[in-house]
């Protein structure tokens, strides 16, 4: 207990209390806004906001001045779909709050957010300042670590769920801030309901796509019927609904077009089915995955639907991604689609997000569009206002990098969230520093 109290005290000490006025000068500014990239300029952060940014900007009197010495300042990165803050160790089920196992659309991921996750400081060291925590299916969802050759698919025990009862929807997503010491980091809960279609959705519906789509449409119809007459439902005077009350409640803002449905699909034909579903049901959607998106890029663009994708996906690793290719992001962007690039769902590897943006550039995405795919576009797709670009009036969520933010050999020199400089320490760095220089004291590393 004493140790726990000490740890809390240390945390409190590490927590910055108030925002100061900060000017970062001599910086290359990647604004991810109409100003594009400003080769040399300054940015001023005050009262949690960006109050000046540009080539002619100077440090106001009394500001703490940071000389970037040619380093780059970018908006804080936003992970567009992640298990960060709701999971600690992927293969330790008790640390996983990114999946329901019982509820469908009603599952609310925001209740599981842990601001003290050791993965959050690590994520900030990848330039992340915000994350959209999105639920995954308890079985057959879009997550999973592929880097351990134990044949996990063959041997995994699975994460719960009842194989006879299709849950369809994975639950409700939340936008979460990553500021150190913020014990109430949920920016907005219930920002979307997530749905896996394609192979995972088919499996979840008992085996085929035809069943999955029918169940989804039936659920929407039930939600509308429920919304029309809650009191009849409470008196037991309605027909039987396929989903529970809490699940239907969660679907109401979706069928009313107020909250988007995040749909995970990859096959071109599945994407077209989802676009049609959105038209017919008059709902808002966001696509995640979309490995074959480039085949139907004009249709996605015409529907005005944003796409969250992993730009590394170039393998025909299933029959729903046979046309996966590295220039998917570039082609979608060229067709006019708003593209957000995600990292791996692996928890401590969020940094992949910026490398994935770099990879998209290597495969045809214009460099001047790349920063937006991990910042402004994510904000746009998720309807976040006041974040995602270096523009006066926006939240002062900014990162100062040693070099090109998308490069393998760069790292963040300083991360600001709401104008507050974040501590650099992470559990991984403490381990690193303990072992990088062996002690000559004769005592084990534990004394270091």
């Amino acid at each position: 207990m004493k140790r726990a109290l000490l740890a809390l005290a240390a945390l409190a000490l590490a927590t910055p209390v108030s925002a100061e006025t900060v000017a970062i000068i001599n910086a290359r500014l990647e604004t991810a806004a109409t100003a594009g990239t400003i080769p040399s300029g300054a940015i001023v952060l005050k009262d949690g906001k960006i109050i000046a940014v540009g080539a002619g900007v100077t440090a106001p009197a009394g500001a703490r001045v940071i000389d970037a010495a040619g380093g780059t300042v970018s908006p804080g990165l936003i992970a567009p779909s992640s298990s960060l803050t709701v999971t600690e160790v992927e293969q330790v089920t008790s640390t996983r709050d990114d999946r329901s196992g019982k509820l469908s659309a009603g599952f609310d991921i925001s209740y599981g957010v842990n601001p003290n996750s050791t993965m959050i400081p690590l994520a900030r060291q990848t330039g992340l300042t915000r994350v959209v925590a999105t639920p995954v299916l308890s079985r057959g969802g879009g997550d999973g670590h592929k880097h351990d050759d134990s044949g996990a698919e063959e041997f995994a025990g699975g994460g719960g769920g009842d194989d006879t009862e299709p849950m369809m929807f994975a639950g409700q997503a939340a936008i979460v801030g990553l500021a150190a010491g913020d014990q109430d980091p949920v920016v907005r809960a219930r920002v979307a309901v997530t749905l896996d279609l394609g192979e995972a959705g088919a499996r979840n519906a008992g085996g085929s796509r035809g069943a999955a789509l029918v169940l989804v449409k039936a659920a929407f119809e039930d939600a509308r019927a429920f919304a029309r007459n809650r009191s009849a439902y409470d008196r037991g005077e309605t027909r039987e609904f396929g989903l529970s009350r809490v699940d239907l409640e969660a679907l109401i803002p979706v069928v009313e077009g107020r909250t988007p449905l995040l749909v995970r699909v990859n096959r071109a034909s599945d994407i077209l089915q989802v676009l049609r579903l959105a038209r017919e049901e008059k709902i808002k959607i966001i696509l995640e995955g979309a490995a074959e998106g480039w085949l139907v890029a004009p249709q996605i663009a015409a529907a005005g639907v944003g796409v969250i994708l992993d730009s590394q996906a170039d393998l025909p690793d299933s029959f729903e991604s046979l046309a996966a290719r590295l220039d998917n992001a570039a082609r979608l962007q060229a067709a006019g689609v708003t593209v957000a690039i995600m990292g791996s769902r692996d928890l401590n590897n969020m940094r992949q997000q910026r490398f994935n943006a770099g990879l998209a550039v290597a495969n045809g995405l214009p460099r001047d569009q790349a920063m937006a795919t991990v910042t402004a576009n994510v904000a746009k797709i998720w309807g976040m206002t006041g974040v995602g670009s270096l523009v006066v009036g926006q939240e002062a969520d900014v990162v100062l990098w040693t070099g090109d933010p998308l490069e393998t050999t760069s790292w963040p020199k300083a991360v600001f969230i709401g104008g507050v400089e974040q501590p650099q320490s992470t559990r991984a760095f403490e381990l690193r520093d303990r072992y990088a220089t062996p002690s000559a004291s004769g005592y084990p590393p534990a004394y270091q």
Partner: protein, 445 residues
């Protein structure tokens, strides 16, 4: 006695039929060359003919008459990348259950299986890896078992048969696995091993069996040599492999994440008189860098793919860099059909994590982590892995510094033959599986 009944009669029963593809006298001029011998040559020249490197040097290097000249100005040249940990072919794309051939997960000791018998040469992943500069791979069985079986080393060339890819003369590896996977797989079935101590008991028991088996064959051969009558022991394929390790002919490739478990495995090896060639994954190599250096054991890891399970919980980005500076033989591997396409970047991330804390690792040093060091750990360093006259001409021409996120392999040569060219569709092979599919060969620009 049929040859198949005596392990010594035909030690190579599935021989390589690999033959280098047609090549020309080629010279790349003007590129920055990383030789993987610690050297960086600016505006360098490399010449290869008949599949072998004949010259590597500065701008003054003589280019023989008639050479096909490749302009390397502004570009970089490295040895072909070697992925020491791959499951291409055994866990191919598409990853459907009927093609899931990487783990013989029915018994904790399956030293009798050989990964080469699971390889599907048409795995499109081989083509993607080649477009990322990978010229040689070690294909391993998975880690469900204490002893997963034999690995095989392949040249990354398109081939209708597995034998057509096999690296001639490369030693076999034996896949062993520490830690969570074996005990989870078998413990969940209420059989041994169910614990870490059960794992170790399983290794020791198998080595005792192997020693006994080896002795029976030795006794038999001694009697035959003396002209005495003797019945040959019954051949056991699994124990053959373990005996091959005890004789130093087969290299131990040991999946092991934690520092303390690596130390235990080193003692098991000492107890039974074999060597561990390389620890794979080795997320905690940074805690025992000096020990690995002293024992002469390589370790292969990722830059930052860590934390997804308890035995990887202490994984850090600077793992490779710290253990490297402690003197350990450092390798970056993929274990993944996506990452293998960008091992150059994985090395860059690992190097940068070290340089962030002042370890001052150069690109000329770090390139060894995906070239000559894996070659050493696979027993093929005499033939490939560095740009040295006389070695196989396994060469990659990069569009830019390969440590950059924006770099791509422009041309890839294996044994001097152009096997991939980003700008020439004639050198962008497709597997049979890819023909007629919506994404046919689609990864090329």
């Amino acid at each position: 006695m049929a040859a198949g009944l005596d392990p010594a009669a035909r030690p190579d029963p599935f021989p390589s039929t690999y033959a280098p593809l047609p090549s020309r006298l080629t010279a790349i001029r003007g590129a920055t060359i990383l030789t993987a011998t610690g050297q960086q040559i600016d505006r360098g020249v490399i010449v290869f003919v008949d599949g072998k490197i004949v010259a590597v040097g500065g701008a003054e290097t003589v280019i023989p008459e008639g050479a096909t000249l490749v302009d390397g100005t502004g570009k970089w040249v490295t040895p072909g990348i070697i992925d020491a940990h791959s499951h291409l072919g055994v866990y191919p794309s598409p990853g459907v259950p009927s093609r899931s051939d990487g783990n013989e997960g029915i018994d904790p000791v399956t030293a009798n299986v050989w990964a080469e018998h699971s390889i599907w040469p048409q795995d499109p992943g081989f083509n993607r890896a080649r477009a990322g500069g990978v010229t040689t791979l070690q294909i391993l069985p998975g880690s469900a078992n204490l002893f997963g079986g034999r690995s095989v080393t392949v040249r990354n060339v398109p081939s209708v048969t597995m034998q057509g890819m096999k690296f001639p003369g490369a030693p076999y590896g034996l896949k062993m696995a520490c830690g969570e996977n074996p005990k989870r797989v078998y413990g969940n079935r209420s059989r041994a091993p169910a614990t870490a101590m059960g794992n170790v008991a399983g290794y020791r028991r198998a080595w005792i069996d192997a020693a006994d088996y080896g002795r029976r064959w030795d006794d038999y051969r001694a009697k035959i040599a003396k002209g005495e009558r003797a019945d040959p022991p019954k051949r056991d394929l699994g124990l053959d492999t373990l005996v091959g390790v005890l004789r130093g002919e087969i290299l131990v490739q040991n999946h092991c994440y934690r520092a303390d478990e690596m130390a235990v495995m080193i003692d098991v090896a000492r107890e039974f008189g074999y060597r561990i060639t390389m620890f794979h994954h080795a997320s905690e190599a940074y805690k025992v860098g000096a020990l690995l250096a002293k024992e002469g054991i390589c370790f292969a890891t990722w830059a930052d793919w860590q934390g997804f399970k308890m035995e990887a919980y202490d994984g850090i980005e600077a793992n490779a860099a710290i253990a490297f500076r402690a003197g350990a033989c450092t390798v970056i591997h993929s274990d993944d059909a996506i990452m293998t396409q960008r091992l150059n970047q994985e090395v860059a991330i690992a190097m940068a994590a070290g340089n962030r804390i002042g370890l001052k690792i150069t690109e000329a040093e770090a390139i060894a982590w995906i070239t000559i060091n894996p070659a050493k750990a696979m027993g093929i360093d005499g033939q490939t892995g560095s740009l040295v006259a006389g070695k196989r001409a396994d060469v990659v021409l990069w569009s830019a510094n390969p440590f950059s996120v924006y770099a791509q392999a422009d041309k890839v040569f294996i044994d001097g033959a152009l096997v991939y060219d980003r700008r020439d569709p004639r050198y962008q092979p497709k597997s049979d599986f890819e023909l007629g599919q919506p994404g046919e060969g689609a990864f090329h620009p």
